[in-house]
Amino acid sequence: MTSAAGVVVVGGGQAGYSVVSALRGAGYDGPVTVFADERHLPYQRPPLSKQAHTEPDGTRVELVPESFYRERAIGLRLGERVTALDTAARTVVTGTGTRVPYDHLVLATGARNRRLPVPGAGLDGVHALRSLDDALAIGRALTTARDVVVVGGGFIGLELAQVAVAGGARVTVLELAGRLLSRAVSPQLQEHLRQRHEHSGVRILTGTGVRAVEGAGRVERVVTDRGVLPADLVVYGIGAAPRDELARDAGLAVDDGVIVDEHLRSVTDPRISAVGDCARHPHPHAAGLVRLESVQNATDQGALVGRRIAGSAAPYRSLPWFWSDQGAVKLQIAGLRTDTDEVRVVPGDSPDRLAAYAFRGDRLVAAETLNWPAEHLAARRLLERQVPVSAGDLTGSTLGALARARRGAGVRA
C-alpha cells in the first residue's frame, strides 16, 4: 500500500479534510500532503453565514485542531497555493516554485464567488461571503452597520440577512429573479420562506437588479432598477463557480467543474480525483452529471476517495442532503429535487413545521422540510435504502411514520 510519492491534496477545506481523515482512518500509511492556500486550519463554512463572527480566535470553526494532522503525519501546508499540475511528471508546482511528486492527486479546490458585476463593487463596505476572513470583515462591519443590503436571495444571502436583522440593522434583500431561492427549493416553499423573512423584519425585493454601488471611498447607497437604497454594508451572494482552472490548464476534461467518473476519478487521468464543490460527477439519482455545493457532498466524496486510495472499490452513491438555517427557520433537503413532476406540501405536526415531498413519476425522490429534523432524517433513511414511497403512501401519513412502521416491522429503515 505504501508508495514513494503518496497522496497530494490540493485544497484544505471540507472535502480536503475528509480525504485525509479517511485515508488515515482506512490505514493508508504513505506520505500525505495537503496544500491549503488560506492561512487558517481547515474549517467549516456553514457557521460563517449563520452567526456574526468578530473574533478570529473566538470563532471555533476549525474542523479539527492542528494536533489531528500532526498525530496522523499529515503534512498540512497552510498558505501555500498550488499553481500548476504536471500530469506527465506526476508533480504539483506551488507558488514558491517547489515541485512535489504524487502517486495520487486529489483536487479539492472548492468554488469561488461570482463577482458583483456592477460599478462600485470594489468600494469599502462591499463584501462577498465565502471565507473566514470575509466573515470576520462582515462581522466587524455589522457591529456598526445600520442599513444592510444583501444582493442575492440564495441560501447564504438569506442566512446573513437574518443575522443582520437580529443585530438590529435595517435589512433589504435584492433578488433579480421573481422568487427567492428560485432554483434551490420548490416554488411552494419559496413563497412560504419569503413570508417568514418579511415577518422577521427583512425587506425582500424580488425582480430587482443592482445597477451600481456608490459612495465616496465607502459604500453609501445601492442603485437598483427600482430606486436608490441607503447602505453602509453590502453583502452579495450571487452564486459560485468551481475552481477548476488547475485541471483545465493541465488538459483534464472540465465543464463547469472537473469531470469525474462514478469513482470520482478524472475521466482524463485516473491518478487524479476531484471532490466537493469543484467536481462534476455522475449520480445514481440524476439523469446527467451534477455538481453540488454542500457539506454532505464534500464530506462523502472526500471519504470515498480516501478509502479508495487505501484500497476499497465502491462507487459513489451517497444520498445528497443539505441544510440552511435562516433565523428561526431550519430548512433541510434530502435527495435531489431536479426533474420532479409533482410537489406536495404537507403541514407538519406543529405550526412552524412544513414538508414538501417531491415525486418523479409516482416515486418520492426528495423531501424539503422546515423545522422538522426528524422528518428530514426519516426521508434520508428511506431514500438511502431506496424504499419506494408513492404519493398515496403519504396520504394522511408522514415519512417519519412510514420509517417507524418499517423499523417496528423488524426492517431497519
Partner: protein, 107 residues
Amino acid sequence: MPIVIFQLPDGTERKVTAESGTALMQAAVSNGVDGIVAECGGNASCATCHVYVDEQHTALVGPPNGVEEEMLDFTAAERRATSRLSCQVRLSDALDGLVVHVPEEQV
C-alpha cells in the same frame, strides 16, 4: 476540565480532557475520536454524532431534548434507552469521568 471516556466499537477506549461548557461532540471531534462524524457541526441536523451514555451516567446526563428525541428515532445505529446526540450534551465539571459508547455506524 472534565475527563470523558469514549468506548469505541472495536473495544478500545479514548480518554480525553474536555472543556466545561462545550458540547460532548466537540470533545470527540477536537480529539479525533473515530466514529463521531458530526457532519452538521453541532446543528442538530444530521444525527451523525450519536452516542450511548453509559448506564451509570444516564441520570446525570439527563434525557434528550424535544427535537433530539424525535431525531434519535432515525439514527443509523439502533436507538437505545441511553441514546443521545452528543452535540446536544453540554459538558460540566459534574460530568467528570463520563463514559460514553460510540456506535458501530453513524451514516
